[in-house]
């Protein structure tokens, strides 16, 4: 694929390296990440204890299709889920657990910009729906927590990634790529609505 220049981000994440990323850059993430979606976020927000130390780690908004094989698990499909739903929970979780990388999809607002700024954290946007291309980047399933309580889609999976592609959507200075796109489209939308050319049958 003809592509923009890629920057690497390897676990364990080095704070300076995360902070050097800029909105709009293309990154390849390797190493351990923890999946977390609606249930896990609410649980951690409500003061639930994390089964693992999340300091300087990545939360991946993803509910994979995983099936049992022999003694382990195989990822059948895994891509990002909409991150905006987790936005209200993020500032507290990023702060209390020292999260450095959030991975997901879709636009995020001021609350996440603030959380990224305060925590030296970035929000990485992966390609939504690309569950096969992205499942291939999951090289191993290293663990499972809360599978019973929250169900397999909502559980916390420990995944090992290799060269997982994403765009920096919000950087640690709070710059937000999708906000820029949205502002421009809002302006154009207003212009099109004011159009002197109404739709008349």
């Amino acid at each position: 694929m003809a592509l923009l220049k890629a920057r690497r981000l390897d676990y364990p994440f080095i704070p300076e390296q995360v902070e050097a990323l800029r909105a709009g850059q293309f990154v390849l993430v390797s190493g351990l990440v923890y999946t977390a979606r609606d249930r896990i976020h609410k649980y951690l927000f409500d003061g639930g204890k994390s089964p693992v130390d999340l300091k300087n780690s990545a939360l991946y908004h993803c509910g994979p299709v995983v099936i049992r094989k022999d003694a382990g698990w195989v990822v059948r499909a895994a891509g990002p889920t909409t991150s905006l739903r987790e936005e209200p929970y993020l500032p507290r979780i990023v702060k209390e657990h020292g999260i450095r990388v959030i991975m997901g999809k879709g636009s995020m607002g001021k609350v996440t910009e603030g959380a990224c700024k305060a925590g030296g954290c970035v929000y990485l946007h992966a390609v939504g729906g690309a569950a096969q291309v992205l499942a291939e980047k999951v090289v191993a399933v290293k663990g499972l927590y809360f599978g019973e309580e929250f169900g397999l889609a909502e559980a916390m999976w420990v995944l090992e990634l290799k060269d997982f592609p994403a765009i920096v959507a919000i950087d640690s200075k709070g710059r937000n790529l999708l906000r820029r796109v949205k502002s421009a489209s809002l302006r154009m939308g207003r212009k099109l609505m004011k159009s002197s050319d109404p739709f008349i049958p």
């Binding site: 709009g24 390609v127 291309v133 421009a184 099109l192």
Partner: protein, 295 residues
């Protein structure tokens, strides 16, 4: 119903294929759109990733997207056909597809929060039945993920904030607003199903049934076909691009239908379907045997 096993197996095959194999009209739409994006741009990278994903899902016989969505079945059956038996065969097929990983455990009890292991529960899957004067069964399946379902919108006209009155210009404004509010969050480039009229429930039903139309068709109602074309051009001008990362392609298509309404209500309902447009259909014999693929 006789041949329960045959029915289950045909319906299972429909689910499997819907989950792993993007229909040809949509794939062609993605290819066309990909070419309009600048080389080495973020938009081009997204489009190329989507196309690679389509191929990989097909090759690996694995779900296109991990959110295998709500399953909506549309059946047209011969007069006097036993639809209860059809429902039970479909439920068995859904449970098997879940067990084999073609569907994610994707059904949650809304009160207790408990996850359902089989995807068979009250309201899951959804069924629509219609009788028709034919000896065959026409079945179509939509698998619609939650991300795109969440960005759907319903407007009640007049809408002062949009300056939208009770006419087609008002409809145009609503649809534009829906595209701008959705940004890339429904996994753009998506396809819009729009219903003018109906009530709060049938409006959404009709807007979703627009997804059964082929991507390259045009509304048989001339004025709606014109509105579809215009909205496609305007959506492009918004430069939302794939995944909302900027670019030309916010939408692959706009499909508009209409229903009658009561004088007091004028709803415009917009449903959004993501690029992973999982829609398949089959014509089955009255005994459940496979006759031909639709789409």
């Amino acid at each position: 119903m006789k041949n329960h096993v045959q029915w289950e197996s045909s319906l299972f095959e429909l689910i499997r294929r819907t989950s792993v194999d993007l229909p040809c009209d949509i794939e062609q739409g993605l290819r066309r759109a990909c070419k309009t994006e600048k080389k080495a741009s973020r938009a081009r990278w997204v489009m190329e990733t989507l196309l690679a994903n389509v191929q990989k899902a097909r090759d690996l016989d694995a779900p296109l997207c991990q959110d295998t969505g709500s399953l909506i079945f549309y059946f047209q059956v011969p007069v006097g056909f036993d639809t209860n038996a059809l429902v039970s065969a479909t439920r068995l097929a859904v449970a098997r597809a879940t067990r084999l990983g073609y569907l994610r455990q994707n059904t949650i009890d809304s009160v207790s929060g408990a996850a359902c292991q089989t995807n068979v529960a009250y309201g899951a899957p959804t069924f629509y039945f219609e009788q028709c004067a034919r000896g065959t069964v026409d079945v179509r399946l939509l698998m619609k993920g939650g991300g795109c379902e969440n960005v759907g919108k319903q407007y009640s006209l007049p809408d002062e904030s949009l300056g939208a009155g009770r006419d087609l210009e008002g409809v145009r404004r609503c649809v534009l607003d829906a595209v701008v509010s959705a940004q890339g969050n429904g996994c753009a480039p998506g396809i819009l199903g729009v219903c003018i009229g109906g009530d709060r429930a049938t409006g959404y039903e009709c807007s979703k049934s627009q997804f059964l139309r082929k991507l390259d068709d045009k509304s048989p109602v001339k004025i709606l076909a014109r509105l579809e074309d215009r909205l496609m051009k305007e959506a492009k001008a918004l430069e939302i691009g794939p995944m909302g990362l900027g670019g030309n392609t916010a939408l692959l298509g706009v499909k508009i239908g209409s229903m009658s309404r009561v004088p007091a209500s004028f709803f415009v309902t917009v449903s959004y379907m993501c690029w992973a447009f999982r829609r398949r259909g089959a014509l089955l014999t009255a005994r459940g045997g496979f006759q031909k693929w639709l789409y």
